[in-house]
Structure formats: C-alpha cells, structure tokens
C-alpha cells in the first residue's frame, strides 16, 4: 500500500445525489446485473434454452391435438408462451434482489453514495433487457417454425412495448416476494406455485371452450388471458384496443398495489 493510493482530495460532498447521478448509478447497476450472466451459465440457460424448449414442446406435442396442426397451433400459442415466459422472467428480479439482500451486496451498495432508488431501478432495467432478449428469441424461433407477423412492424413494436410495460409492473410482485422470503430459492418456489396455475388457467395454451364454465369465468378475467389476447391482436390478428386497454389497466392496478407494498417491505427489511 502506497501513500498515493489513499491520499488525494475527496470530492466536495454533495447533500443529495442529483437525478442525473441517480440515472447513471441505475445504468451502472443494470450493467452489473447483466455482466453476471457471464459467470452464471445457469441464468443463460433460464433465459434462452427454456423459452425455446417451451415453444418446441408445445408446438409439436400439443399442436396437432389442439389446433389440428403444429403450424396453426403456433399462431395461437406463441403469444401465450410469450406471456408465460414474461411472467416467469419477472421472478428473476425478486430472486436477484433476495440474493443481494441475503449475501450483503445490498448493504454494500447502500453504504455507497448512490441514489437510494438506484439499486432497485438498476435491477429492473437489467431484467427488462433480459425480457426483451427472451421476447426476441421466442419470436425468432417462432418465425423459424413458420410464425408470421399479421400486423407488421407497428404491431411488433406495440407488442414489445405492451409486454415490457406489463412486466415492469409485474416485477413489483417479484420485488415484494424477494424482500419477504428468507432465501433466493423460495422466490423460485413461489414462482412455480403461483405462476404455473396462473398461466395455465388462461387461454395462453388452450382455447377456453372445453373448460368447465366456472373455470371459464376466471379465465376471462385472468390477466394472462387478456395479455395473450392483446399480443395475438398485435402480432397475428384480432381485436387490439380492448385487450390492450385492459392489459394496461391490469398493469396499472398491479403497480398501484404492489409497488408501495414492495417499497415498504424493503424499507422495513434493510
């Protein structure tokens, strides 16, 4: 250790971080979440292999039975698979946050002069990038298998925007879970316990006609159904305005309920 490493005038202390500084912190922390993938191949597997596998399995195993042919089924199911994947992907936010909390990384970050909201915001930005990557991958594999965009570029852009907006809202549920549970694995358990039934009791994979009427009533209001319909409208064909509006309402509702709860839980925990 030389003297030169430790001397040198400290920057004049500012009372609060500026908004610009906060945004810079957010981007730096987002970079950190993304660069982790390099050292954690399991996460790459989660992000890439799993969606591809779902598309292939659903299309070729269920496709014929449900829609008569894998090609027809893909048109119906790909938007649903995209929605399911997005729901699961929101869990990475809570998983990573819980890991930071339990391992002490969060404390290290909070002891630095960074904006209070930046660690969380950085994580959410990074997870939005991961969402975008999964979406590109799913659409890509779909295209290879014969999926065609029915509403062109505007529809594609709209689908992207809607899905990312919805995931952004839904990731607050994940943040809440991540703060409340004691270890990262429990976030994943929650994901399976809640997201599996939630996404399967929808019209994501199967048309609702054959379901019992009591189930149909739930399926119609399930946000997974609504979001899947919105994506079908934007990517293939069908009504757009209704399901898109309802999806945004759901997103706003989830945000309004879970963001304050999550922030409060986080404040209590740290």
């Amino acid at each position: 250790m030389t003297a030169a490493t430790l001397t040198g005038a400290p920057p004049a202390p500012a009372r609060r971080p500026s908004l610009a500084a906060g945004l810079r912190h957010t981007l730096t922390l987002a970079w950190r979440s993304l660069v982790q993938i390099k050292h954690n191949p399991m996460e790459l597997l989660d992000l890439s292999i799993q969606p591809v596998m779902f598309v292939l399995l659903f299309t070729y195993v269920f496709g014929g039975a449900i829609s008569g042919s894998p090609g027809d089924y893909l048109k119906f199911a790909l938007p649903g698979i995209i929605v399911q994947n997005a729901f699961f992907a929101t869990m990475t936010t809570g998983f990573g946050l819980n890991q930071d909390l339990t391992k002490g990384v969060f404390d290290r970050l909070r002891a630095l002069p960074v904006a209070r909201w930046a660690p969380l915001a950085g994580r959410i930005v990074a997870d939005t990038v991961k969402q975008a990557w999964s979406l590109v991958l799913l659409l890509g594999i779909g295209m290879i298998l014969g999926f065609r965009l029915g509403a062109g570029l505007p529809g594609l852009v709209g689908a992207f925007a809607l899905l990312l907006a919805f995931s952004l809202a839904a990731s607050w549920i994940s943040v809440l879970v991540g703060v409340l549970v004691s270890e990262p694995d429990k976030v994943q358990i929650f994901g399976f316990m809640v997201i599996f039934p939630l996404t399967f009791t929808s019209n994501a994979f199967v048309p609702t006609e054959t379901m019992p009427s009591w189930l149909q009533r739930w399926v119609e209001v399930n946000p997974v159904t609504i979001l899947a319909d919105a994506l079908r409208g934007l990517l293939v064909s069908g009504p757009v305005a209704g399901p898109v509006g309802q999806s945004l309402l759901w997103a706003a509702g989830i945000l309004a309920v879970f963001a304050p709860l999550a922030v409060r839980a986080l404040r209590r925990r740290v």
């Binding site: 490493t5 430790l6 001397t7 400290p10 971080p17 912190h25 002891a111 630095l112």
Partner: protein, 324 residues
C-alpha cells in the same frame, strides 16, 4: 482533538431484543478504535448505524462531522465499509467488482479501471482479477472486500469482524494492510471478538456487552484497570489439578479456571504467590510451571463481563444474525 466518529446515546431495538442500549463513542481522527465483544453484543448494529445503513431509535451520531441520518449521503462519501454484511458480488470478477464501485462513485471508465488494477495489485489479487469472486479463498475474499471499500479513498473505514473465520496467515496479512491504512491517515473502526486482534491493532478499545460499552481505554489501561495479575500453575501430574485449584481458590478467594492442564486465578495481593507455593509444597504437589503475569485482554474481558469472550461465540452465533 478532532473526532472522526462521535455517537451519543445510541439505542436500537429489534422487537423485544435491545441490540444497542445507549452507546457513546468518540473516535479521534486517524486512530484505530476497537469495538470488542462477543457475538450478539451489538457491535454490528453499532457499525450499521454509523455506516448509515440503520436508523437508531434514540441518540445521534456523526461521522466526519456529518449527522448519519440527516446528512447520510455526505457520510457515505467519506466512509468505506467491510464486513460480514457488506459483501462483494460473488458473480462478478475481482476487476468487475471494483469497476462497479468505481463507476458508482463517479470515476470515469478509465480511472475506475486504473484504480481497480492498482488495488488488485496492492492486495495481491492480480492473478485472480478475471475470476469470479465465488472462486476465491476466504482470505482472498476478505482482501477483495477490503479493496472494494477502499476504491473511494475513504477517510473513515469500518471493519466489521474483518478476520473472523480466517486462518492465522491470512489474518496477519489483513492486519498488515490495516496498519498500512492507518499509517496513511485513515480512521478505522474495527469490531472484533478476538481480544488479540484488538490488542494488536487498536489504540483504544471499547468493550461492548449486551448493547452497552462497559469499559473503554487503551489496551494497557484496560489491563491495569482490571487489576491485577494472573497466577498460572501447571502441576506435573494432571491428577493434581483439583488439589491445585482448591489451594488457589482458598488463598486468593477468587474462582480459578482450569484449561490446558493449567490452573489460572486472578491475584491482587502480592503475598498470594509465596502462600500458594507453601501450600503446594505441603500438599506434595510438584509443579511443571508456575507463573505470575499481567492479565491479558482475555482476563480483562472475563472480569468485566463475568464470562469469557470466546465461549459465547457458538451460543450467540445466531442471535446477532437475525436482528442485524
């Protein structure tokens, strides 16, 4: 004298547990100050309050002259934190961890990279720079932790049990690093459960137990304050240990301890030694070793708290983890 850290009447409760029961501290600028106490004593809670991570229920504290609550952001620009609870990111490499912190502190990409390279070299981590931190050994992890807290050239450094769980060699390396930092003018607040560590590094020590500072002073002052000396007797035949203990108890009026075939008992009266020797002779006990020495911090701790520092470690290990 200027104080880098001042705390007055810090109280912090976690439910029914009182982690801090009114802690006052004054750490002079440029000093190494040791917070010594067993697990669960409140050391980590105190550090977390001073490092702006936790709000105290009562009392107030300043670091570098700034209030840790009202001016937390300013305090954070002055401090570095290394400890059990402030960790590096295991999924990043050594370089990436230091780059991350450099960038968060507002260094340019080039400066952050240069600073990371320099710190890794200073801490003998250059060879492991591009490996994920989860592959590091315990000693390497601590060095990286410490390097991470030095990226911003802090004026005040909090070291929360920096050597717990390290082998003696890694511990000595870390001690040398800390001595180097102090030579460069950094104020260090060190928490430790190892009396030897406090004795080695700290110019002043506060002994903490059950959320209170129960004694404070230089290691020497503490040793003298609690009196006296320790008489240690090791009989040739371990079977004589109970006899020796009984004699020691009778002569000194204090409760002797038996460890490693040696009976130790605190003594305040200079006549105790010859008295013990006479009684041992009368009882026909032969002695392999007999010594009168100044009390170590171990005994200081014992006489202050009524219990040994190390024996509580296992029992209380989980206690502090939950609230902290």
């Amino acid at each position: 004298m200027t104080y880098a850290i001042r705390a007055e009447g810090l109280v912090r409760r976690f439910g029914a547990t009182t982690a801090l029961a009114g802690v006052d501290l004054a750490v002079p600028t440029g000093a190494v100050f040791g917070l010594l106490g067993p697990n669960g004593a409140g050391k980590t809670t105190a550090v977390r309050v001073l490092a702006t991570l936790l709000a105290a229920d009562e009392g107030h504290a300043t670091v570098g002259g700034y209030d840790v609550r009202r001016d937390a952001h300013r305090v954070r620009q002055l401090i570095g934190l290394t400890g059990q609870y402030a960790s590096v990111d295991e999924n990043l490499t050594g370089t990436e961890n230091l780059l991350l912190i450099g960038r968060l502190l507002g260094l340019s990409r080039a400066d952050a990279r240069g600073r990371a390279r320099q710190l890794l070299a200073d801490f003998q981590l250059s060879d492991a720079a591009e490996r994920a931190a989860k592959t590091y050994s315990g000693g390497m992890r601590r060095r990286l932790d410490l390097a991470a807290s030095l990226v911003g050239r802090p004026q005040v450094l909090f070291l929360d049990e920096p050597t717990t769980g390290l082998d003696p060699r890694s511990r000595n390396e870390l001690w040398d690093i800390v001595r180097g930092l102090v030579a460069d003018g950094v104020t260090v607040l060190l928490t430790t459960q190892y009396l030897e560590e406090a004795d080695q590094l700290a110019g002043e020590i506060a002994v903490v137990d059950h959320g209170r500072v129960i004694a404070q002073g230089t290691p020497e002052e503490l040793k003298t304050r609690t009196g006296g000396q320790v008489l240690a007797v090791r009989p040739t035949d371990p079977a004589d240990l109970p006899t020796v203990a009984a004699i020691a108890a009778e002569v000194t009026g204090a409760a002797p301890e038996i460890a490693q075939h040696t009976v130790s008992v605190p003594v305040n009266d200079p006549r105790a030694l010859p008295a013990v020797v006479r009684r041992l002779d009368a009882a026909e006990v032969t002695v392999a070793e007999l010594a009168l020495r100044g009390s170590s911090l171990d005994e200081v701790f014992l006489s202050l708290t009524g219990h040994r520092a190390e024996q509580d470690v296992a029992a209380d290990a989980d206690l502090e983890r939950i609230p902290a």
